[in-house]
């Protein structure tokens, strides 16, 4: 096996696959994907439901089909893979330390690295759920793996905490497999997943969703026997007199995803406390030269299609870096979250980028606005550089906006760019 690679991609989910393919297509010689699982595809392998590919292929595909398309493409372009291999450490000078059963301890060097480790589910410990600690409390994704890949039912009667997409999709999946989903509880006053999933996964199967309601306590010693639900006020304080004990044998948690950046931190990559992912520029390069990041490791997307697109951008940047030893520095301008914007990715825009191609910004709103909004990118003087109308703004749904090459001149003069989501006047 080779010791030095032009590009090493860590993770083979949709972001990693796209990055590896793009690296090859943009002239990188040796490209390697390191994957800890026994097969490529990442979490898509367990996402057997439809709804993938609508943006990129204009087709409604199940997750495994979407993954296979890119797995075959990666194989076709000659990407090397190292399976069943765990990356232990990455250094800022791009040495990768990994381990697997057949080769033992491995040390590799990359001219450029793409971090594509995806994200992890928030667990019970992270939301401080009180009560005893019986078996039967799972994250929704773990249950999804049991049911869809391993063929094991984790329980018979479920309560699901959180109206995120995975939770709602699992509510439907468990019902199809003969289980009873008694309730979906959401602490926020709004749905955190997509409306279409509420319709197709909950309404279709008569599953009740209760908002501003959460799990107050888990009941049961060896196994979950019930959960106690309670209503909460705006500050998440329990409202007296609203308790209900719901008998069940399992509790699924669908309470958010966190970008997985333990390796990134070891490599000296700085993380944005809002996204929990690296600060990146428009090529998805982190603060460490030659280390790029793509997909859910940067921020949690709601559509896989956007992850693939981000992977392509990062892979191309990595290939260019690997061949040039360095991308010409180029002046950059900061992109900041303004009015009603929680965060915007990328964090920095290379001014020269707009000469050739458009740059896509993705952001999340702070509070929902259920009427027409105007999304703007403004410079330090309030001059509008780019704008777009949207029928509404919801924190659960990413807003996407492109800055086009026609704004090249305006961006050259900018000292700072701010992104805003405002009610349309």
């Amino acid at each position: 096996m080779k010791h030095t690679y032009d590009v090493i991609v860590i993770g083979s989910g949709p972001g990693g696959l796209a990055a590896a393919i793009a690296a090859k297509e943009n002239g990188a010689g040796d490209v390697l994907i390191i994957e800890r699982d026994i097969e490529l595809g990442g979490i898509l392998v367990q996402c057997i439901h439809n709804g993938f590919g609508l943006e990129i292929f204009d087709e409604d595909m199940p997750g495994p089909t979407y993954a296979q398309h890119f797995i075959e493409k990666a194989r076709g372009t000659g990407v090397d893979t190292l399976m069943d291999t765990m990356v232990l450490d990455i250094t800022p000078d791009r040495t990768v330390y990994a381990i697997n059963k057949s080769q033992g301890y491995i040390q590799l060097v990359a001219r450029a690295i793409v971090l594509a480790m995806g994200c992890r589910e928030r667990t019970r410990a992270q939301i401080l759920l009180p009560g005893s600690r019986p078996a039967g409390v799972y994250t929704a994704g773990t249950a999804q793996r049991f049911v869809n890949v391993e063929g094991r039912m984790p329980g018979e009667q479920f309560v699901i905490l959180g109206s995120g997409d995975i939770g709602m999709i699992m509510a439907r999946r468990l019902t199809i497999e003969g289980a009873k989903v008694k309730r979906v509880l959401e602490i926020m006053p709004y749905l955190t997943g997509l409306t279409r999933n509420y319709v197709q996964c909950l309404l279709d199967y008569g599953i009740t969703l209760q908002k501003q309601r959460t799990v107050n306590r888990i009941i049961g010693r060896d196994r979950v026997e019930a959960i106690e639900a309670v209503s909460v006020d705006e500050s998440w304080n329990p409202i007296p007199g609203t308790k209900e004990v719901i008998p069940c044998d399992s509790l699924l948690l669908s309470v958010g995803l966190i970008p997985e950046n333990e390796l990134s931190k070891k490599a000296g990559v700085l993380l944005d406390p809002v996204t929990n992912g690296p600060y990146v520029d428009d090529r998805f390069m982190t603060n460490v030269p030659g280390i790029f990041a793509a997909g859910n490791v940067v921020h949690v997307y709601d559509l896989v299609d956007w992850v693939t697109e981000a992977g392509y951008v990062a892979g191309k940047g990595a290939a260019q870096f690997a061949q040039a030893e360095a991308i010409p520095e180029g002046k950059q301008v900061a992109l900041e979250a303004g009015e009603n914007v929680r965060y915007v990715v990328p964090h920095k825009l290379t001014k020269a980028s707009l000469a050739e191609e458009l740059v896509r910004l993705q952001m999340r709103a702070v509070t929902p606005i259920e009427e027409r909004v105007l999304v703007t990118v403004e410079d330090q003087d309030g001059e509008v550089i780019a704008k777009k109308g949207e029928p509404y703004a919801r924190p659960g749904e990413i807003i996407s906006l492109t800055i086009k090459p026609k704004s090249f001149e305006a961006v050259q003069k900018a000292v700072k760019l701010t992104v805003n989501v405002r009610k349309r006047k």
Binding site: E39, I48, P62, G63, P64, A67, R196, P391, Y392
Partner: protein, 123 residues
């Protein structure tokens, strides 16, 4: 008698709330659709609601013990529970190829159930 049903359109992620006035299955008026697709969805929803269904079937000798499958097209909504029971009886043998039919003409609907990925033989 004209009734009004509320339907949330799922043709796109926007999720318009449609007010559909209808006499039985005959539509009188649709209010609230943001586009033409919403009207089509409302008509479908009232007259013949269908959904894509994804599930798994058992596979013998495969890398995993299950292979994911889905309906080649929208499946009649009222028949979904029956389809789920039917799929639990199906078993195929590895290797399975993507798009391979695992259940032909499911429940006499003319709709095939196909594998959504390759499932290689275990080595």
């Amino acid at each position: 008698m004209v009734e009004t049903s509320e339907i949330i359109c799922v043709a796109c992620p926007k999720g318009c709330l449609l007010q559909v006035k209808h006499e039985g299955k005959d539509i009188v008026e649709i209010v609230g659709a943001g586009c033409r697709r919403g009207k089509e969805y409302a008509i479908c929803e009232l007259q013949d609601p269908r959904r894509m269904v994804a599930s798994t079937v058992r596979v013998r000798g495969g890398l995993h013990s299950l292979v994911p499958v889905y309906t080649r097209e929208g499946f009649p909504k009222p028949l979904i529970p029956q389809l789920a029971r039917e799929l639990r009886q199906v078993e195929v043998t590895a290797p399975v190829k993507i798009n391979q039919v695992v259940l032909e003409d499911a429940l006499g609907t003319g709709i095939d159930i196909i594998a959504s990925r390759d499932m290689p033989k275990i080595t």
